[in-house]
Each structure stands twice: as structure tokens, then as C-alpha cells.
């Protein structure tokens, strides 16, 4: 897999401080892959980590990150959003496409009455998958709104727990108030092939938007 080492890998805006070749033969030439990021969003307990784990080549890792949180404002007399920084746990995994390209899947933290500003995590993502449990549709509104607002290509994926979906796709589309341009799929977060196909729907959408 060793390719010709290059001091300036494609796709990076920062020139390395030195060529990516380790002098001693003991080390293989290391050239980082171009990282492509997708975001897995949805409410708490909806299956984000399961989804990542079903297809990631590594066990999902957890890291803590500080993100900006906007208080809901219910007890804020000034109507000015109060911003605070909160530490959240975030699960992620990856898939090596080839030695020069790696897909990262980041599960964004769930939220309840707070709106998280996910920009720190989401910026640069090629697309998002919003996972929905039809028994708790409310939990995914924030994620749908976020992707719509940011103009990030996304699909809604209904996690069919035990094969059961309590509402028809039309009902879900109506309830979420998403346009026909947003793909709606039913999938099983535990099945690798099912997760793969859901991710492909998002990537095809992102590709179509790039070409259109």
C-alpha cells in the first residue's frame, strides 16, 4: 500500500511542516488520508451509536467535547439567547475507503429542551443522517431544523426497532414537515447492510447537489 510519498497531500489547506517521510526505514511512509465526515443525528437513545457501530471498522470511540449550548429561553425575560458551553460525549467511528480516503461518522449528542449549536462538530460534513424513532418523533425536530438551516444534505432514517414502524412514511413526512427533496428511508441500525444503504442515500444526495 506504500505510495510515493508526497510533501503536499491533495485536499489539505495546510502545508505540512516537513515532508511526510520518516527518515528511518523502520517507519512506513505516513501520509494521512483525506477525511470525509458524515454526521449521525437524532434524539437520545434513538440508535446513533448502534448505527455507527454497525458499519465502523473500529469499535465506536467516545470523546468529550465542549459545544455551545443555547438555553431554551423559557425563563429569560430579555429574550436574548443565553449561550453557555457544555461538555458532551460524542461517539464516532470510521471506514477506510482506501489508503488516501477515510470516512468518519460522528454521532452528535442527543438533546431535549436545549438547542445545541453543533457547528464545532458538524462544520464541513458532506451530509447528515437523522435517525428517527416513530414512537418519539419530537426528538428529531432539532436535528432536522439544524440541517435544513445549514443547507447540509440529509436524509431521515426511521429506525425499525424489531421491524416495527408505527407510522407510514407519508405520516412521518407530514409530521416532520420535510420536503419531498429529503429522502425518507426505513432501516435497521443493527444491520450493516441496512446502515450502508442509508448512508449511500445521503451521499448520493450530496453528490447530486454537487453536480447540480
Amino acid at each position: 500500500m506504500a505510495s510515493e510519498p508526497s510533501p503536499t497531500p491533495e485536499g489539505y489547506s495546510v502545508t505540512p511542516t516537513e515532508p511526510l517521510v520518516h527518515g528511518s526505514a523502520a517507519h512506513t511512509p505516513v501520509r494521512p488520508p483525506l477525511p470525509v465526515k458524515m454526521v449521525i443525528a437524532g434524539g437520545f437513545g434513538v440508535g446513533k451509536t448502534t448505527t455507527v457501530g454497525a458499519i465502523s471498522e473500529i469499535e465506536p470511540l467516545t470523546t468529550e467535547a465542549a459545544i455551545t449550548e443555547v438555553a431554551a429561553g423559557v425563563d429569560d425575560l430579555t429574550h436574548t439567547p443565553r449561550k453557555t458551553t457544555t461538555t458532551v460525549a460524542m461517539d464516532f467511528g470510521c471506514i477506510t475507503i482506501d489508503p488516501t480516503l477515510k470516512l468518519y461518522l460522528f454521532g452528535t449528542p442527543g438533546q431535549d429542551r436545549f438547542g445545541f449549536m453543533w457547528d464545532d462538530i458538524v462544520e464541513g460534513a458532506v451530509g447528515g443522517l437523522v435517525i428517527v424513532d416513530t414512537r418519539r418523533l419530537d426528538d428529531c425536530y432539532a436535528a432536522v431544523d439544524y440541517f435544513e438551516h445549514k443547507g447540509i444534505p440529509f436524509a431521515v432514517a426511521i429506525n425499525a426497532f424489531d421491524g416495527a414502524v408505527e407510522h407510514t412514511l407519508d405520516e412521518v413526512r407530514w409530521a416532520l414537515d420535510v420536503t419531498d427533496g429529503v429522502p425518507l428511508v426505513v432501516f435497521d441500525a443493527r444491520e450493516r447492510g441496512s446502515v450502508r444503504d442509508a448512508l449511500l442515500v445521503v451521499l448520493e444526495l450530496a453528490l447530486a447537489r454537487t453536480e447540480g
Binding site: Y12, V30, L199
Partner: protein, 138 residues
Amino acid sequence: MADGSPPPGPDPVGPAPAVRPFLVTSGRVANTASGRTMPVETQVVATVAGLDALDGLSFERHDIVAACRLPQSLAELAARLRLHLNVVHVLAEDLRSAGQLTVYVPDFDSTHDASVLRRVIDGLRAIPDSRGVLRDTD
């Protein structure tokens, strides 16, 4: 962590670090020098100078440079070393300034390029349905 008494109650993210996270960054919280923020998938790799200096580095800095013999994302680095992501940001920036780490901030025009997206799509399509299927891992 074995010497401390366990904290009371359930802990959703594992034991608390022995040192307050931002003590190791002297209180700095993020991205002070370079202007542009580093996204979580930013790749970091140790330089020859960094590996040569490894014995002289202490604690987290040592661990980061050692882990970066192979390219890592900032997120992987934070998770594997059990460091707060924002702490890794700060230390990576320090180590980059010292010439011990190379930091590759991805260019979003490249990651959103149609040819790149097509390669990701083709790569994903090649993944079989079930985990039981043998795959080439090396």
C-alpha cells in the same frame, strides 16, 4: 486512577481524569494561534523531529506524539488517550508550533468534490451486508 476512591453514583463516561483537563493547557481552551479552527476529523502525524524528541516530552505531549506515529484524527487521539477534545486541540497546536507534529486541516472544497464523493460511494457499496463475511484487513 487505581489509587483514587471511586466517585459515588453512576458515571456515564468513565472515571474522571486525575488532573483537571485544562490544567495541562495552562488554562487555554482552543485554537488561539492559527485563526482557523481545526475540525474534529483533522489529521495529525508525528514528525521525525517529534519522534526524536519523544524521550524529552512529558505526559500528554509524549502520549500524543507517540500515538501519532500513524496518522490520527483529533477525535481518535482524544478518545484513545482519554483526553478532552479541546485539550487535544490546544496541545496539537503547541506541538505543531514546536515542529513535533504535522497538522493537516482538511480543505472542505476537496472533501465535497464530486470525484471524492464518488470514491466514498464506491467504497461503501463494496461493504458486504454481514459482519460474518471475511474481509481483507491488510
